[in-house]
């Protein structure tokens, strides 16, 4: 395989591994703050117990996010030296602001949040929890500002082949940023909502039915039920924004080869990149035009308008369908669960099992959506400014391949360990509760 494909695969592997953990820790930090504030106001120990269970999972998730994030900061240089050489004047300050305003704050206050509760007042501990949450969200703000700028670059001029900033506010709040940021933050919320609901349902099914478990189950379920319709609406807006700025990406997502009016919404198709057509296409007539232009006969530009300058169709076409499919499932499951919880105060066993099965559904939707937007930018690294091939390093492909194998083995092991430990903590929590009783929190070493 050639070095470019390997470098991209390696970067994608690291990104995919990394994104799993911030996606959880960003929203989980806010949920923990919610648990803590509820405890501060109600003094009901169920909130404290919920906090104490989920803070362990937060610590584990955060650690995985940090170490995989360090990997990213190095791979910008090892895999894409041309990126910083050409657009470093823009990307640099955005990354610097992420490190300065977010990383140190979250890492330092995490120490106090996790281990300082006996050494500081409850007030300081609450503030530390708040600052960790603010830090994780600020981090998302800066990195998505940069990512969005790479999709819709504005506010700069090219001088002697290098990008120079003209207007920083335009760079940060570039056209796709508000949509992408909102979409990703809600995705984090949904991922966490299903994680909390799923793991709580898992405990509940195993007979661990304390107040704290039911409270967490409700928090997760209602959060999911509220967020999912908002996400569908925001996702639609994000799609319209992409149509305006990156029509080739939309054409690939919808599998539209020829520019047409009243384009169908394809439910199934096997895109054929050689023949530049779809096989076995099944679609809803005029569906794509209706969704994307909000008119039955709206015109959508086809891929043939962008020959040589559009991404591969298959991953985008299917990535979008996986993301939307999971989203629809989320809507169905969260609303049925919320309805059951409101009406019967508990879940039926079969629905609880489905909620357990959906525990990590947010990961699938997030990664699928991330692939759509990132692969959709190809062949560019910075849309219309720098191609991925021009940014690649000339490191020998054998070296990339061997380190890739090393990273992959490590990542797969760690994902397996993470899921297995999370489930183990959930099972162990019950034993702990039986030993110590619910009111007294059990002591645990970190």
């Amino acid at each position: 395989m050639d070095a470019l494909v390997l470098a991209r695969t390696q970067f994608a592997a690291n990104m995919t591994f990394h994104i799993l953990f911030p996606t959880i820790s960003i929203a989980l930090a806010w949920v923990l703050l919610f648990f803590k504030l509820r405890f501060n106001t109600t003094h009901n120990t169920k909130w404290q117990n919920a906090y104490q269970f989920w803070v362990k999972i937060f610590a584990l998730t955060f650690a995985l996010g940090v170490v995989s994030g360090i990997t990213m900061s190095f791979q910008f240089g090892t895999n894409w030296p041309g990126f910083m050489e050409k657009v470093g004047n823009i990307a640099g300050p955005l990354l610097a602001y992420e490190v300065l305003t977010a990383f140190f704050m979250e890492a330092t206050f995490l120490g106090i949040m996790l281990f300082g509760s006996q050494r500081v007042s409850n007030r300081v501990h609450t503030i530390a929890t708040l600052l960790v949450a603010v830090g994780t969200s600020l981090s998302a703000f800066w990195i998505l500002a940069l990512n969005s700028w790479m999709q819709t670059p504005v506010g700069f001029e090219m001088i002697a082949g290098k990008a120079h900033a003209i207007d920083w506010l335009a760079i940060i709040f570039n056209p796709s940023f508000p949509y992408r940021f909102t979409h990703v933050m809600i995705a984090s919320g949904l991922t966490v909502a299903f994680f909390i609901a799923g793991l709580s349902a898992y405990r509940w099914l195993r007979g661990d039915r304390g107040d704290d478990v039911v409270t967490a189950l409700k928090t997760g379920t209602f959060l999911a039920a509220i967020l999912i319709p908002i996400q569908i609406f925001v996702g639609d807006m994000h799609g319209l924004n992409t149509l305006e700025h990156q029509p080739a990406k939309i054409a690939a997502m919808e599998g539209i080869w020829e520019t047409e009016r009243g384009a169908p919404l394809l439910l199934f198709a096997i895109p054929d990149e050689q023949q530049r057509t779809n096989r076995f296409a099944i679609g809803v007539p005029k569906g794509a035009s209706l969704i994307l232009t909000h008119e039955a006969n709206g015109e959508i530009k086809g891929l043939n308008e962008f020959v040589g300058k559009h991404p591969r169709v298959t991953p985008l076409f299917w990535g979008l369908r996986i993301m939307v499919g999971v989203g629809m499932l989320m809507l169905l499951v969260s609303w049925s669960s919320a309805w059951q919880l409101l009406k019967h105060k508990q879940l039926s066993d079969w629905l609880a099992r489905i909620v357990v099965a959906m525990m990590f559904s947010g990961w699938i939707a997030t990664v699928a959506g991330w692939y759509v937007t990132e692969i959709g930018r190809q062949p560019y690294l910075v849309y219309g400014v720098l191609t991925t091939a021009d940014a690649a390093s000339n490191v020998p492909s054998t070296l990339i391949a061997s380190t890739l194998a090393m990273y992959l083995a490590l990542y797969l092991t760690l994902i397996a360990a993470y899921i297995s430990v999370v489930l183990y903590l959930a099972r162990k929590a019950k034993h702990g509760a039986q030993d110590d009783g619910h009111a007294t929190p059990q002591l645990a070493n970190t």
Binding site: A63, G116, T403, V421, N445
Partner: protein, 344 residues
């Protein structure tokens, strides 16, 4: 040297200083917690928990200094960043694997099933050692200007060993300060053996650096530089001797059960070790200046555009004092002897 009254002249200097501060902070701060990881193998199970407890609240923020240091290299000197990191591709990858392993082992070891704990302890040790060795190899290859001959690689491996030993010294002296009882006594013995390797390492790098480049040689061994710079090796030697004497005294106190004596001077070996790190760092920085890649790329050749550096400097000026402030606050909260880590 370009016109220092112009932004394109002085901004790279400011960022070099900032990067230096970040790298030095990283080497010292993550140095002690990597060192604790390296020493973990030699402790019994109860001591292992206490060793990890002593670094628990800090390691995460400590590693962030690496992200800042590499971040400044990336954003302020993008050309050098590309050259340095692609030349060090393999050791960087190994270091990252090491950092990942130890970072996750820190959490997994107490959250996974009890019988898995020894495996995560091993991963914590192996990851710490691998990351330290890899950083040392990177330092060695950096000093020889990324030439990959047999001698250069051998030198890189040697600096890898020395840096790991120096981190272990920082870790051991940190433990002397932060723990008590049998673990503290043990840490004194560890520190004594690591001190010699550290001294040998500093001497080796100090001798090798001028030999790599005529320019560096002339910088040190010309008048009046030689006399002006003499305090650096002299002070290093003094700190080394002080560390040795303090450790000998502490060994004596430990064996005679003089706990008050131990408490009185338990901070001193750590302070001496940090001092040696700072001096060695300045010596190396002086040798290399103004080059980012030895005798190839200067800071001015590698620097980003002034308008980008200005916007970062603006942020740094506001945020860095805050970072230093709350870092100090965190160390104040966890001041004194380490206690077992509990979430509540």
């Amino acid at each position: 040297m370009p016109d220092l009254t112009q932004p394109s002249g002085w901004l790279p200097l400011v960022f070099l200083a900032l990067m230096g501060v970040a790298m030095l902070a990283y080497v010292i701060l993550d140095g002690y917690d990597l060192g604790v990881g390296i020493l973990l193998r030699h402790a019994d199970d109860e001591q292992k928990d206490m060793m990890i407890a002593s670094i628990g609240p800090f390691w995460d923020a400590n590693e962030t200094w690496l992200v800042l240091g590499v971040g400044i290299l990336l954003v302020a000197f993008p050309v050098a960043h590309g050259v340095i990191l692609t030349s060090l591709y393999l050791p960087v990858a190994l270091m990252l694997v090491g950092l990942i392993l130890r970072g996750v082992a820190f959490d997994f070891r107490v959250k996974a099933r009890a019988h898995h704990k020894p495996w995560w302890n091993r991963a914590f040790y192996a990851g710490s050692l691998l990351a330290s060795l890899a950083q040392g190899v990177m330092l060695g290859l950096y000093i020889v200007g990324f030439k990959y001959g047999l001698a250069q690689i051998a030198f890189g491996l040697l600096t890898g060993l020395f840096l790991a030993a120096s981190y272990a010294l920082l870790g051991a002296t940190w433990l002397i300060m932060k723990t008590e009882g049998s673990l503290q006594h043990r840490a004194v013995a560890w520190a004594r053996s690591c001190l010699w390797l550290t001294g040998l390492g500093v001497a080796t790098v100090s001798i090798a650096t001028p030999l790599v480049s005529q320019r560096i040689f002339d910088k040190w061994f010309s008048l009046p530089n030689f006399i002006l710079l003499l305090p650096i090796p002299l002070m290093t030697a003094t700190l080394f001797a002080l560390a040795y004497l303090f450790l000998r005294r502490l060994t004596h106190d430990a064996s005679s059960g003089n706990e008050r004596g131990l408490e009185r001077w338990c901070w001193a070996p750590f302070a001496c070790s940090v001092g040696m790190f700072i001096l060695a760092f300045f010596g190396l920085a002086f040798s290399l200046f103004p080059y980012l890649v030895v005798d190839r790329i200067t800071i001015w050749q590698a620097a980003s555009a002034p308008e980008s550096l200005k916007i970062i400097l603006f942020g740094v000026a506001i945020v860095l004092p805050a970072i230093i402030g709350y870092t100090a606050y965190s160390y104040k909260i966890f001041w004194g002897k380490a206690r077992q880590l509990t979430y509540y």
